[in-house]
Symmetry: C2
Subunit: 200 residues, 2 copies
Amino acid sequence: MTEIELSTEEKILKAAEEVFMRDGYDGSRMQDIADVAGINKALLHYYFRSKDKLFEKVFDAKIQSFFPKMGEKFSQDIPFVDKIHIFIEGYMDLLLKNPYLPLFVLNTVNNKDKSAFIKKLPIELSRQVAQSYYVEFKKGNVRELNPAQFIMSLMGMCIFPFLAKPILLDMFKADNDTFDKLMEERIQELKHYVTLILTP
Amino acid sequence: MTEIELSTEEKILKAAEEVFMRDGYDGSRMQDIADVAGINKALLHYYFRSKDKLFEKVFDAKIQSFFPKMGEKFSQDIPFVDKIHIFIEGYMDLLLKNPYLPLFVLNTVNNKDKSAFIKKLPIELSRQVAQSYYVEFKKGNVRELNPAQFIMSLMGMCIFPFLAKPILLDMFKADNDTFDKLMEERIQELKHYVTLILTP
DNA sequence: AACATATTTAACCATTTGGTTAAACTTATA
DNA sequence: TATAAGTTTAACCAAATGGTTAAATATGTT
């Protein structure tokens, strides 16, 4: 295990990500972030002027690391159902590596002071999916449905377990590993569901 | 329109519900709740000793008003698919009347200081659904699947649009009424989806 | 070495916030 | 009407919190 020395700026961003993800914007304390980063509070304000600025940096970084990967998938010239299967695999994989991200993003867009952050989300992606659906529908390869409703369902099915994770852990008396295994299983189950929904 | 004079306690609970739902626990201010209730802060502490106590009262009241109605539905002796259809109708209806509730509950159970609140949720309901599924599966009336995965999907499909509402409003350039109509439509669409998933 | 620049810290400040106190006002009841 | 109990308020308090300042310490450059 080679210890790589992070720069102070990187240490701060890493700590801020951890704390903001765990405690939310309002629940996070600058002192807390400083402690986790192993520095003091004034240094935090030296690097990132304010809590708001720091939060925006963290949010941007997470979004950038998360969504772009998804976009490419839909450019490929393969059947719509296969695209959705690939989406499910890729998305669930990202969620397994970033289990707190959904609540983080949803809280941000629902926060009265942070609703402008909606503009940072890749909403074109959903249009891409809808367009891709219609192409395939005209070919008679998929059942008739409202693509907007389908996308909401798809997202909901993928994301929900991560939002409700504490409830599920309690319900199944499970630990993190068991949860991850359940999510791995889930990938197959969801692929099955969407096939049933989409196949004419 | 007959104006009904609410008691101070009722006014406080109503205001607290509004503020906690909108701003979350950490984002809510006792002064804010007092203002909305049209009283002053000391009176708030006279009726409900602390922010924590008040929050718990609001949480309990919302949970009580929300979940019990769902339980009865599964006692009826009708086909499993019909039970799920009735669940979708009832649940979406409750969500339309309480659009902020999902984020409120999910934030609460994910909050490090509030995870004990998980115990207040009706997790037996999901066991009831699972049991109901197996009875029907033995009769060969439903496809083979993992009921836990199915329930997560069902909940996710119902809840997700309400969590992502600000994003959807922006995406569709829609207002609240349009959103509600989209959700009414969604009831039929979801009933269709679960039929496809469950029918052998 | 000398100088400038970047980094780090302890001490401090103003505001916000949950919560308290003591006094005043209502209401009902003996 | 006197008294007790419940209700309401203004003023206050201590702790927490985001943010600032000025001085100290490294680091690199000439």
